[in-house]
Symmetry: C2
């Protein structure tokens, strides 16, 4: 079992290990004083793990209630959120009680937002069950729901009291979701860690499971370091968006249905690195190394939109951010920086 | 112009003065870097002040947009909130832009909650226009909306960047609202300030306007001191709830429509003080002094529910808070404390 302690506005542990879900009761007891728990999951994850999580908590003498919603990003909405609030009110939850997010990014984001806002804040525990949630969304305290006008537009910063990452749950994950999560894993290597990147270049999608606990721990530690420096997303945290500006534009082009987040980010990292090389901000060789690594995880993909199509999406995004745009560039493996530039300058990169 | 600086998780000023709305542009410029403003008001306040506020901001070169909603507590709902989110998204507001709450408690609570959560937090400015909002709800950073299951059940702590209190706006307030606000004003004297209480006992509802700037400043300073010690409501802040446990029970008995908040709190303070005197926790004389003071502000009222009816409401409330209940007792004018007791013990007070 590995422990990554987080020292943000709240102190807590991220605990990572094979089969550690069985220790849930003990870990929860160490982290919160709560005695009543609201476990939130989607149908897919609920079918596999809900009974077990409830019985592990009940064995400790805790009272448990559960809320299960239809799987998918479409559920991360104000209307599901209102159902969660009603559920919490109906079961008379108090500020001392805890919300448990059991699932992937959608569940963690929405349950976390409910925990941040119901009674102005309850206790919150994350049990991420997808690779993407384990290395990215469960760490750092960003919670949100989507509104019709855009993804994650309404949210809060809410640090959990405990993140429990059981790598065994990845074995019940479709291979496709594992590939998807690898997009963010490669990103961590690129922006902050040459050793991680080189480790990834030794392995591939079929052999990575043997070292997954170590790899997740590295990713989580990198994100923890960044979040500790910039919990409220005013600078350093921007680095985590490597590949995301163009990645989001690709997702938007496909209306968030044709391509997964990890694949879009992978493509975004490739594109921005090749643009950066053209501008002399990194070597051409860096682009090939990135592409080779992505290929090992089946993340070397073709996308429909050309740079011209992406311009449109970037412009749209820009309206939400003001006149300048922050672009994350990797200068070498493990070495990254943010360049603030006028949106027009970045658009001209795309045109060239 | 008086300035009460607040040193909470965010530093900002509460500025109080007669006619200071005209200085809005300058005060805003000193407080935020925002150049785009979303002014939120209900129809009543909007009809009187919206044009003026917009033109004061536009004169400084700012871009302004406004959102006006139907007046009344019923609007403080997830559905109005979603309309506000759509409005903010439609006008492409960013995290650097500011929400301006122009109005009473409903407007401040809801606009503040929108500012706390849209994009995980925008800048926020309060222009409270009711006495209740000026002395209570605009200070301290509590924001919320109601859900069908109860009032203020969903919310966030969000400190504004500026609170602008123009005492001139009270002159457009129906006398009834002035009386209502005085409930909280008397409360501040009782829990923390003998000089304020004595000042209130020299004046009455018709003569108070001559000293209102000074009185509001005292109230705001008291609340500021309490909030600085306990921003996230884990102890000291409880004192601000003097009269509120029974006050809320009275409001609940009337289904939040038959009696105003300030009147319910006034009655709650009287009841709890008379119960405390019976238990030897304060003198009988304290009760008469409080009653005499309340009478000066037309807050000496009869309510329908007896102590038996209130028991029910307290029990209901208790389910949300756990096994114990915190009761605020004034031992003397300006001297208050919190007593944690089992709910059953408090219920037996009501029975005796």
């Amino acid at each position: 079992m590995k422990i990554v302690p987080v020292n943000a506005s709240k102190k807590y542990d991220i605990v990572i290990g094979k089969g550690i879900l069985k220790d849930l009761g003990q870990l929860v007891k160490k982290s919160v004083k709560s005695e009543r728990f609201a476990v939130i999951a989607d149908e897919n994850v609920g079918n596999i793990y809900l009974e077990r999580v409830l019985s592990l908590l009940e064995k400790e003498g805790f009272s448990c209630f559960s809320f299960v919603f239809r799987a998918g990003e479409a559920s991360k909405s104000p209307s599901t959120l209102n159902e969660i609030y009603s559920f919490l009110a109906r079961e008379h939850f108090t500020r001392m009680d805890a919300v448990v997010a059991l699932g992937g990014g959608v569940t963690g984001d929405m349950a976390g937002y409910a925990a941040a806002t119901y009674l102005r804040g309850m206790e919150f525990i994350q049990i991420p069950t997808s690779l993407l949630a384990q290395v990215d969304s469960s760490v750092g305290g960003k919670t949100a729901v989507d509104i019709p006008e855009g993804k994650n537009l309404v949210g809060a910063f809410k640090q959990p009291a405990l993140v429990l990452i059981d790598t065994d749950v990845l074995s019940t994950l479709p291979r496709d979701f594992l590939i998807d999560g690898m997009g963010e894993v490669v990103k961590y290597g690129m922006i902050k860690s040459k050793p991680l990147f080189e480790q990834l270049c030794r392995l591939d999608i079929d052999t990575i499971s043997g070292e997954i606990e170590d790899i997740i721990t590295q990713c989580v530690s990198i994100k923890r370091d960044v979040v500790e420096k910039d919990e409220f997303d005013k600078g350093e945290r921007e680095l985590l968006n490597f590949g995301h500006t163009l990645g989001h534009s690709i997702e938007q082009y496909y209306n968030y249905t044709g391509i997964s987040h990890g694949r879009a980010v992978a493509k975004g990292m490739e594109l921005i690195t090749s643009l950066a090389a053209k501008k002399g901000l990194c070597s051409e060789e860096l682009g090939s190394r990135l592409s080779d690594c992505l290929a090992r995880y089946e993340l070397k993909i073709e996308v429909k939109p050309g740079l011209g199509d992406l311009k449109e999406a970037v412009l749209n995004d820009k309206k939400r951010r003001g006149g300048d745009i922050d672009i994350v560039i990797c200068e070498d493996v493990g070495v990254s920086c943010t360049r603030k530039m006028p949106v027009d300058e970045f658009l001209s990169w795309l045109e060239d």
